[in-house]
């Protein structure tokens, strides 16, 4: 039968094809095994699940390994703060070589309102005062930060984790009431944004809010003068129109910024001096004194005078802006 013959012919061909395939398969397997053993000899047994799991974890926790699972009510994160401490210590002792004076007089067992002069765009002065106070007294004060910085991308999460809090009355009240010391810069952005020609000239102290907060909370005020921070970011002049287009209050022009790009944001290694003045007690005045406008403005002016004279004395006595 024709069909049967064709079938026999097919069978012969199929056998030949099958044995050829068998040979090819054996050959391939042999080579693959050799290649695979070469890989496993070098890298160990590859486990796809293991690799996938590692990638997944790396993607999910990117930049998050150094965070605590819980933060305090103002967002301070103990692990981030501990990590930042190393950098701050280096900035404090090696970069700016901060001299500290008068820290012995700072009350240790009650909350304190530190009032300091403000300079530089970025809150280096707040970070340094907080760091020095924590190092010397063991208690970390919170520093108040201007609005525009609190909402600046990338700055906002980091500042909150190391103890920066938006500067407003409600926050200062709450912090002091919970027993935290607070660092305030009553000059506000007028102080931070002043040009180099006006350095160490204290601006108006807001509307006396800082004194009122201290009186209402009954905490002592410690005047602090920061010398050296003005030279870390000397602002030659300010651009307003260009800044508005990127949502900043103004764009500073310093000897390094914007010429060096982001590198220009690094502060210059000026020599710093932090001086803590004698505490001014407010608890004897009573909370009603906060409503006495004349008293508040007199105390504000006195405090401003104290800090200005501390600044002047330290500026006269320093050897050079970068030396010492």
């Amino acid at each position: 039968m024709a069909a049967g013959d064709a079938g026999n012919g097919d069978e012969g061909e199929r056998d030949a094809l099958a044995s050829a395939l068998q040979g090819l398969r054996r050959e391939l397997r042999g080579r693959l095994e050799a290649a695979e053993s070469a890989v496993t000899d070098r890298f160990g047994e590859p486990d796809l699940f293991e690799i996938f799991e590692r990638l997944r974890r790396a993607a999910g926790t990117f930049g998050m390994e150094e965070r605590s699972a819980e933060v305090d009510e103002f967002g301070l994160d103990p692990i981030s703060t501990a990590r930042a401490r190393r950098l701050l210590e280096w900035l404090c002792s090696s970069w700016w070589r901060v001299d500290v004076a008068g820290i012995e007089d700072v009350p240790r067992d009650e909350p304190v309102l530190f009032v300091a002069n403000h300079s530089g765009l970025l809150p280096y002065d707040g970070l340094m005062i907080a760091h020095v106070v924590e190092r010397e007294t063991g208690r970390r004060p919170r520093f108040l930060v201007a609005d525009w910085l609190v909402t600046l991308p990338f700055a906002q999460p980091w500042l909150a984790r190391v103890g920066g809090v938006r500067a407003c009355r409600e926050n200062a009240h709450r912090l002091l009431a919970r027993g935290h010391s607070v660092i305030a810069f009553p000059e506000g952005s007028k102080g931070a944004a002043k040009v180099f020609a006006d350095r160490y000239r204290l601006q108006r102290f807001g509307r006396g809010g800082v004194i009122r907060v201290a009186i209402e909370a009954g905490v002592p005020i410690v005047p602090v003068s920061v010398v050296g921070a003005e030279e870390a970011h000397p602002i030659l002049f300010k651009l307003h129109t260009a800044a508005r287009s990127v949502g900043l209050p103004f764009l500073p022009v310093t000897p390094t910024f914007p010429w060096l790009g982001p590198l220009g944001l690094l502060p210059l290694p000026s020599k710093w001096r932090l001086r803590f003045g004698a505490p001014v007690a407010t608890d004897a005045l009573g909370a009603d004194a906060a409503a006495d406008e004349v008293l508040v403005s007199r105390m504000t002016e006195e405090l401003r005078g104290t800090i200005q004279s501390m600044l002047d004395a330290d500026r006269r006595s320093r050897e050079g802006v970068f030396s010492g």
Binding site: M64, S68, V71, T151, P153, P157, V165, E170, N171
Partner: protein, 322 residues
């Protein structure tokens, strides 16, 4: 005022309305319950006297006053609000703002003795110049894009004026923050339930949650015992968004703000159940509320922010294996 004998709830199909009905039945089996909504909810307790009312109708106040008087209602919980926006903004405004106005008129006409309003801390609005903790006295600045929030700010203003004109009525305004728990669901929980969560690049705001049981307990106390005043209903503690996501094993997907706002605008326009308009500002700026007044009035909450979040996360995790 003693425990009310007859209690009315508007918005029976809302989470607060539905769950409070059950809680009140258990706590006060003798009290008469009056339920009001557009349609009768499925599986409604037969002991509840249900009335289908459209609050947005022009004459709804008269009809409602008639009903409340007939049933002898002494306390009313107003919870007829959208849990998520709908495409028809006008209809939402009619229901939420005008509907509330009708409820207020009816309460005055029928001599209701106690009024509880379901509000939200979202009404404070996410603003860069908010203090870290918003007290109940802080102005309600809302959000210009979120029309439900805008409507409810109007409602709070109406209630505040009404309350001044009716000093003999006990008015309680409860402002819960974002509610988390095993059964609560809205656009916010749907956002957080995703495995990959879009966030704003460079922002990590502090958030707070309240557990659904703590929230309902505050409503129950306000309705049955009476606590006139305005209260934030929140859990203790705050947590940054990225920490929340990490504890839940979710992955944040940071997107630059201008891009995310543009991307987020499309689903918000068709109201597909994705985060509503203006939602991402609530993940950008602070709007944490101070809960101390509420803790004093309604007792210490059983769940902290972290515990409420974990309760939500673990219930959603189990849901996958059902």
């Amino acid at each position: 005022m003693r425990t009310p004998r007859s209690i009315a709830i508007t918005g029976l199909r809302s989470f607060v309305g539905k769950r409070l009905l059950r809680r009140v039945r258990e706590a006060e089996p003798d009290a008469q319950l009056v339920g009001l909504d557009l349609q009768r909810p499925y599986g409604l307790d037969p002991a509840v006297r249900f009335h289908a009312v459209d609050l947005a109708e022009p004459t709804a106040d008269g009809r409602l006053a008639e009903l409340l008087r007939k049933e002898g209602v002494e306390a009313l919980l107003h919870a007829a609000f959208r849990s998520q926006p709908r495409a028809d903004l006008e209809a939402d405004h009619e229901l939420e703002t005008i509907g509330s106005l009708h409820v207020l008129h009816a309460c005055a006409a029928a001599g209701v003795r106690r009024l509880v309003l379901a509000s939200s801390t979202m009404l404070y609005g996410p603003r860069p110049d908010n203090p870290n903790f918003l007290s109940e006295d802080h102005p309600l600045r809302g959000h210009p894009d979120a029309h439900n929030v805008r409507n409810r700010v109007e409602v709070e203003e109406l209630v505040a004026t009404w309350s001044r004109r009716h000093p003999d009525v006990e008015v309680t305004v409860l402002r819960p923050c974002w509610i988390m728990g095993p059964s609560y669901e809205d656009a916010i929980t749907r956002y957080f339930a995703r495995p990959l969560v879009p966030t704003l690049l460079g922002y990590d705001p502090l958030l707070q949650f309240v557990h659904e049981e703590d929230c309902l307990r505050a409503f129950e106390i306000a309705l049955l015992e009476g606590r006139p005043g305005v209260y934030n209903v929140v859990g203790r503690g705050v947590l940054p968004l990225t920490t929340l996501l990490r504890t839940a094993g979710k992955r944040p997907l940071p997107i630059p703000a201008p891009l995310l706002y543009r991307l987020g605008a499309y689903p918000a326009e068709v109201q597909s159940g994705d985060p509503p308009a203006g939602f991402y500002d609530y993940l950008r700026y602070l709007w944490v509320a101070d809960g101390e007044r509420g803790f004093a009035a309604f007792g210490e909450p059983e769940y902290t922010t972290l515990e409420a979040w974990m309760s939500f996360v673990s219930s959603r995790r189990m849901r996958r294996y059902r």
